[in-house]
């Protein structure tokens, strides 16, 4: 997609998402939409490290959870606003990501994946034992009534930018998703992206050709972690009650990984497609079939899909269109 068309599309979606909150009455779409967009952002962030650089991260839930808990921390500390929470979350997770990248310097492939899993367990245990943010008992978060920014009422029953917090969160998540897509696309077409690709294809060769692999790895890990942290930062306000088990749940890591696998890891389009399809499927199944059949459907879908389309959606598109032209 050429630059102009792309940015135009992004702009249009941005405006549309705001208008949706203004005109769509049925709240359910914001809940489901938020959930799907959150999955999309996590998938995109995962793909930066996993798809572009080839480093499989099992610990996405750690960055997400640490983001959520840094938001809670600043909330407890000085009653921070939602925006502050998100920014702090992003920064803290980014730092942790940086540290992780540094510690796992010499680890490749599977060892890296397991180290990230270890990170997840250690983070969860630390938070579980930290009573200031609620510990294992969990923390309640009461969103501020009628918050304002520069005098403009942001959330309120009438005369505000948004009717309620779910609409605001939906819009925020949409914005974050769009920004992440822009970032990913930018990476793909940049020197940074090419460096990552070299890393993915053959790290030793890349190093011997002078590619600064350590620097690239650190940037990719920090960026990926930071975005995941930002997503986690929105979690407390959305759920109003979080505990370590749900913030550090393995299913967050699973989804972040499954969606790019299903959609395709080559470009930003893959995670987007994967999240749209798998996310929507999960949402629909939760509120229709809804029983243990739920898990069965998702499981069968995963298995069938991965068996018949191992390159993900993008792979399918490639195969199909290649035949045609």
């Amino acid at each position: 997609m050429r630059n102009n068309r792309f940015y135009l599309l992004i702009g249009v979606l941005f405006v549309l998402s705001y208008l949706a909150t203004a005109f769509v009455d049925n709240q359910y779409y914001f809940f489901a939409g938020f959930a799907i967009l959150q999955l999309m952002v996590m998938a995109l962030a995962w793909n930066i490290l996993g798809g572009y650089a080839g480093y499989v991260n099992f610990g996405s839930a750690a960055f997400f959870g640490l983001g959520a808990y840094s938001a809670i921390f600043v909330l407890q500390l000085f009653d921070a606003t939602l925006f502050t929470q998100i920014i702090v979350a992003g920064c803290f997770s980014g730092l942790v990501g940086f540290g992780t990248g540094y510690l796992t310097l010499r680890l490749r492939g599977v060892y890296f994946a397991i180290a990230t899993l270890a990170l997840l367990v250690v983070s969860e245990t630390l938070i579980v034992n930290w009573d200031y943010v609620g510990g294992a008992a969990g923390a309640y978060v009461l969103p501020k009534r009628n918050p304002e920014i520069l005098g403009v009422l942001v959330v309120g029953k009438s005369g505000a930018l948004f009717g309620n917090y779910k609409e605001l969160l939906f819009f925020l998540m949409c914005t974050i998703a769009l920004i992440t897509i822009v970032i990913c696309r930018f990476i793909e077409n940049s020197k940074f992206g090419r460096g990552l690709a070299a890393l993915r294809d053959n790290e030793e060769a890349a190093e011997s050709m002078g590619v600064p692999t350590l620097k690239l790895k650190l940037i990719a890990t920090s960026l990926s972690a930071s975005i995941m942290g930002i997503t986690g930062g929105t979690f407390p306000y959305y759920m109003t009650f979080i505990d370590p088990i749900s913030a550090f749940n393995l299913d967050i890591s699973v989804n972040a990984l499954a969606m790019p696998l299903i959609g395709g890891t080559g470009s930003w389009l893959g995670p987007v497609l994967g999240a749209l399809v798998l996310g929507t499927l999960q949402q629909v199944v939760t509120v229709t079939i809804s029983s243990s059949i739920n898990l069965l459907v998702v499981g069968l879908f995963l298995v069938a899909f991965v068996i018949f389309a191992p390159g993900g959606f993008l792979g399918l598109i490639q195969k199909y269109w290649k035949r045609g032209g």
């Binding site: 709240q27 749900s246 470009s267």
Partner: protein, 426 residues
């Protein structure tokens, strides 16, 4: 990165995926052409995942309530219909489910799922729309919100975490000589931690010395090191706040290692589940634990509870749920009973009026008289402390249906026995 594709092709692909997604999503736009007839009560319930044992048990008895109400003419003359979705014991699913119930399924009333963690995420949705909300076994969900239309069916009392264990402490302090020290062990998870904090408050109030106070990770396979470490500090009584797999492990560990403590138990979830009762058998003797309903003679004075359980136990095997249903079935029936009675009494679907009525009334339910206090918690707690006694057979579930196994220690009004030291019964 798709190389030589035309952007046209990529756009087509994108659009077709979006289209596919929208078609999927359409499945959600269920028709609004429903007859105005039935009154719909919506909720999420844990039918899979860690809390599913309790969730499925509750659902069976809730469906029995709906049947009973419809036999008597329904609510406000209209038949009642339960609309529910499986939250998979995953709090993340809860907000979306309630949004769907309210915005798409257009239910008239909502009640909660089972467990504090699954009730909490529904609170903002419910509060935003100003609806009456009945809670099932949630601890302190309303403490921060202070919502005036929330009502909880957990019989702990006005200050749930502390009141929950009050009866247990009253019981152990009746041991002779009086205990002077206590050890605490709790699972690192919400309910257990809250219970323990409440229990610690009680212990401090009484002036017991705390010799050990730690938490364990829920997946731990073996508890003998913990029991030994506790024993090394020589407590007079031990308070345990655990979840099912921990409860089993701890009971086994204390059976193997033994203890000099004279009181053992407190907040062990899972000992009320049939599979676990049957599996542990005589190892349970002497344990002092919380409970909500046991088949002791004076408990059967609750109006209708004996029949309810008999009916439940007939259908339980085919529904693959807990065969006895003591733990949740009476309570999940009761929380709907309160709602139903209030709705009928008020005469119309007016949530403010219904909430006011519930605050002001003492209800007569299958779990006896229910009166709500501040924040929707019970005005008077009725958590039982029972002591397991006289369990003789291994691997026999029927022995637990007879009186004399779980003797009620507290509250005094229901007592059927006096407390004995732990080791005296083993």
């Amino acid at each position: 990165m798709l190389g030589k594709f035309g952007k046209l092709r990529r756009n087509i692909a994108l659009v077709s995926v979006l289209g596919f997604t929208l078609i999927l999503a359409q499945g959600l736009m269920t028709t609004a052409t429903r007859a105005a007839e039935p009154i719909k009560i919506g909720f999420s319930m844990a039918l899979t995942g860690a809390l599913a044992g309790g969730g499925k048990q509750s659902l069976v008895s809730m469906e029995m309530w709906a049947e009973d109400v419809n036999k008597k003419g329904g609510l406000l003359g209209r038949p009642v219909e339960l609309v529910y979705y499986d939250d998979q014991t995953n709090p993340k699913n809860v907000p979306g489910i309630y949004a769907k119930l309210l915005d798409i399924d257009k239910v008239d009333f909502v009640v909660s799922g089972y467990g504090t963690n699954l009730i909490a995420p529904a609170m903002p949705v419910v509060i935003q729309r100003d609806l009456v909300f009945m809670g099932l076994f949630g601890m302190n969900n309303n403490k921060k919100w202070k919502y005036d239309k929330y009502f909880q069916i957990l019989p702990s009392g006005p200050n749930p975490a502390v009141d929950f264990s009050r009866a247990w402490f009253d019981t152990v302090m009746a041991l002779d000589p009086k205990p002077k020290s206590i050890a605490f062990i709790a699972a690192d998870a919400e309910f257990a931690r809250n219970l323990k904090e409440g229990a610690v408050t009680n212990a401090k109030r009484i002036g017991l010395k705390i010799t050990y106070n730690k938490n364990y990770k829920p997946g731990t396979p073996d508890y003998t090191p913990i029991i030994r470490a506790i024993n090394a500090t020589n407590p007079d009584v031990i308070y345990v706040a655990s979840y099912p797999n921990g409860s089993v492990g701890i009971v086994r560990a204390v059976s193997e290692v033994g203890t000099k403590a004279r009181g053992f138990g407190g907040g062990m979830v899972g000992l009320q589940f049939s599979g676990i009762m049957k599996g542990l058998g005589p190892k349970l003797n002497g344990i002092l634990n919380y409970d909500f309903y046991v088949p002791e003679p004076n408990m059967n004075l609750y109006p209708g509870v004996v029949d309810l359980l008999a009916r439940y136990q007939k259908i339980a095997p085919s529904r693959k749920v807990d065969p006895l249903g003591y733990y949740l079935a009476p309570w999940s029936y009761a929380y709907l009973q309160v709602l139903g009675d209030a709705v009928n009494a008020v005469g119309k679907i007016d949530h403010a009026a219904i909430a006011k009525y519930i605050h002001a009334t003492e209800f007569s339910t299958v779990v006896g008289k229910v009166k709500f206090g501040k924040n929707g918690e019970w005005a008077n707690g009725r958590t039982l402390t029972v002591q397991w006694q006289n369990i003789k057979k291994q691997n026999d579930l029927q022995q637990f249906t007879k009186p004399g196994i779980r003797k009620i220690m507290e509250p005094a009004a229901f007592a059927t026995g006096t407390v004995k030291p732990f080791n005296a019964l083993r």
